[in-house]
């Protein structure tokens, strides 16, 4: 293993580092990458890893490396084992299925490919990996793996050859926009924080308080390649003039927290965090802060309050965190995925990044594809791909061949898009125009058995639970909207209730203090816009067209 001094060689850094052999050199080198992210782990992929190691060892295959890697994407088919050298992916590998494991070992030893290998298409067609480039390839708990995969080259390049202005210019050129949901131009945000004056420091904060139902993009990135996020943060720190960073992770992601903490320690040991990064005077320290189970702490001002030890409630803006954030100092807040985009942008240039995607939405977007679709999992696609391509090509269509009804994007503040919009390109503007938004990347596919009023009720239930209670419209308005939706799904609603719901939704959207309240009515608006007939069926005919609601009918 090379020393820290190697890594700190001025101007060269990690790039000069000789790649460390993964396994002793042999005639053939093959690796079996066993997914150890939460999805596959929940199906005992840790036991698969152990069992496979035992068998490979027993078979004396010294040229086979059985490795722990992050998310391989196709969560629906887990536990997954990939043999990249053969371009093969093995699905549903059970730890106690001796025959399957044996056939896998046969494949690894150069024998006939085992029967279980699955076609990598069409799930992987249309995908472009930028954020997830190293997910599923590197061991998330070994910085050496990350370095071998070209990790920290961008940071080294940044601090040794670029000025902060040049870094920001590159980010501006890339057209990268905030991946947390709002889509604010990242370069502009960085510029603002860089220009803010502060005599006692600035902060860089990574928002990993992912909380949308069905969304697991940030978790997967942190579990699969935490170093890439840290590298992005360090580059941001250099660009805006901050020496301290915080990653705010929700407590429900223990594995992400563990891997993040280990990644920070290893990055510090390797000289990519801490003092004298890559042999320069630049220093950047990162600490992890863990949430306490409040969705609203994903809102930036609530998140900052929580980091400072206060109640996680939002405050009115301005001042924006860029001017007055943590402890009143200029603070850059970006999402996990945004930071993970930064190293590739710096390495390959903003122009390259801007060549991916469409119009005002550049680059790729990671989505957590969930719901009634065959291939649920983690995907990364170029902006501008159509919903149809995602749902039917990548997603493989609907489970059981059922009829498509809607796809929900953007979490509790997003919307439900109907079949008519399947050919709409996925970008910030199109989604907003259709009454949804990009959100952080949750994408839930719904089939004909889903009642859209019930869906609106589900999300409203979520919002009323998660409202912090500070501002009145969100605190009481979400509860009242839930009550009206509940009444309608029980077949007791009236046309007047529908009008009240609509005017209340308008009021909550317009007057709430933060994004949670402002966005809470969106599922109501989008379902009313595209599925109004379902509301009317509950009200006028006392029936649920999808057959999902239990109507007890009757008048009051």
């Amino acid at each position: 293993m090379s020393t820290i001094e190697d890594a700190r060689a001025p101007g060269e850094g990690a790039r000069r580092r000789p790649p460390e052999p993964l396994v002793p050199e042999g005639e053939r080198r093959v690796s079996a990458n066993v997914c150890q992210a939460a999805g596959c782990l929940s199906m005992q992929s840790d036991l698969v890893l152990g069992a496979l190691r035992d068998r490979v060892e027993a078979a004396g295959l010294s040229d086979v490396a059985v490795r722990r890697v992050g998310c391989l994407g196709l969560c629906a088919a887990g536990p997954l084992v990939e043999v990249p050298e053969l371009g093969r992916l093995f699905d549903h590998v059970q730890p106690d299925d001796g025959a399957a494991l044996d056939s896998l070992v046969t494949t690894l030893s150069g024998g006939e490919p085992g029967g279980q290998a699955m076609a990598k298409e069409p799930f992987f067609s249309h995908q472009v990996k930028v954020v997830l480039e190293r997910c599923g390839q590197v061991d998330p708990e070994r910085v050496e793996d990350y370095l071998d995969a070209g990790g920290y080259e961008a940071l080294t390049k940044t601090v040794t050859t670029m000025s902060p202005e040049e870094v920001i210019a590159e980010v501006v050129r890339s057209g990268l926009r905030g991946r947390g949901g709002a889509g604010y131009p990242t370069g502009l945000k960085w510029t603002t924080v860089a220009k803010a004056t502060s005599h006692d420091g600035k902060f860089v904060v990574c928002n990993a308080d992912e909380g949308d139902p069905g969304a697991f993009m940030d978790r997967s990135v942190l579990e699969s390649c935490p170093q890439q996020v840290l590298e992005g943060m360090a580059i941001a720190g250099y660009a805006v003039g901050a020496q301290h960073g915080y990653v705010y992770v929700r407590a429900e992601y223990p594995l992400a927290v563990k891997r993040l903490n280990s990644a920070i320690r290893q990055a510090e040991r390797s000289g990519f965090l801490g003092k004298q990064i890559a042999g320069t005077d630049f220093e950047f320290h990162v600490e992890v802060r863990i949430g306490a189970g409040a969705f609203v702490c994903g809102e930036e001002t609530a998140l900052l309050a929580s980091i400072q030890g206060g109640r996680g409630t939002p405050r009115p803006r301005p001042p924006y965190p860029a001017a007055s954030g943590l402890w009143g100092r200029p603070t850059l807040i970006n999402n996990v995925e945004t930071y993970a985009n930064v190293p590739p942008v710096v390495m390959r240039g903003g122009e390259w990044y801007g060549s991916i995607g469409t119009g005002k939405s550049k680059g790729t977007k990671v989505f957590a594809l969930a719901g009634a679709v065959v291939n649920t999992g983690l995907i990364e696609v170029p902006m501008g791909l159509s919903l149809r391509q995602i749902v039917f090509d990548i997603g493989g269509g609907l489970v059981g061949g059922k009829k498509f009804k809607a796809v929900q994007t953007g979490g509790p503040s997003g919307g439900c898009l109907p079949e008519e919009l399947l050919d709409m390109p996925i970008d910030y503007e199109s989604l907003a125009q259709a009454g949804s938004h990009m959100g952080s990347g949750g994408m839930i596919v719904m089939d004909e058995s889903t009642c859209m009023v019930d869906v609106a009720k589900y999300f409203m239930d979520f919002c009323r639970e998660e409202s912090c209670g500070k501002c009145l419209p969100c605190r009481a308005g979400t509860v009242q909207m839930y009550g009206l939706l509940d009444k309608i799904t029980r077949g007791r609603g009236t046309r007047h209730d529908l009008d009240t719901l609509q005017s209340l939704a308008e009021m909550v959207r317009t007057t709430s203090l933060c994004g949670l309240g402002q966005g809470a009515p969106n599922p109501v608006f989008s379902t009313l816009r595209y599925f109004r007939d379902e509301y009317l069926a509950h009200i006028d005919d006392h029936t649920c067209p999808a057959g999902a609601c239990r109507l007890d009918g009757g008048e009051r």
């Binding site: 409040a294 609203v296 109640r311 405050r315 009115p316 009323r464 639970e465 998660e466 409202s467 912090c468 209670g469 500070k470 501002c471 009145l472 419209p473 605190r475 009481a476 308005g477 979400t478 509860v479 009242q480 009550g483 007047h496 009240t500 005017s503 209340l504 009021m507 317009t510 007057t511 709430s512 203090l513």
Partner: protein, 241 residues
Amino acid sequence: MSDEVRTLVIDGRDVAGASGQSILSVAEESGVFIPALCHLAGLSEVGSCRLCMVEVEGTARLVASCVTAVEEGMKVTTTSERLLAYRRRAIELLFMERNHVCSVCVADNHCELQELAKTLGVTHFELPPLHPACDVDATHERFVLDHNRCILCARCVRVCDEIEGAHTWDIRGRGTGARLISDLGKPWGESTTCTSCGKCVQVCPTGALYEKGRSVAEGKRHRPYVPFLVATNALGTGRQL
């Protein structure tokens, strides 16, 4: 914060304020009424009741006038059909959230919520009452906290923290489950930080905090007390934005 003059138009009237001063504060000084419940001159702003939202020309969104600084040339509209509808709805949400029964309330006839409902022309409610089970804390020897009437404006929290310096009050829980608490949830009477100064009782807009021994409609506040707050609290001049 510099004290440069900013001239602006509120409801067609030319008015002037200091840089950094809130729209609401300038409106108050100019005799323009903007409804508000969490705002109280003399205390810092939280911007949570959302009643004071106004329209600003050139801005698509409504802004909370208590936390928005005046700007040169700003054109502010404080009353419109839309604003009135939202404000009425806000009053309705408050009335329906806890158990407000004006006719048997200690603050009847001395209540800012009741008065605002009248001023804004709220004559009935469309939404159903939530009827939460709420406690009454009568453990303090001189005062009572009745959660049935609390609107979570946090005036008491701020006056206790910013003026009295005790920070006995805070808020626990979230959503409609949020509750005012003394000393991390101890009964008020067992609070070791409360100085029994009674400031919280004086600033409470409803009948949530009142003096023991007062019956229905007897909970009159000592309103002359309020300007005193403004004078003593440097934070609360409306110019700290």
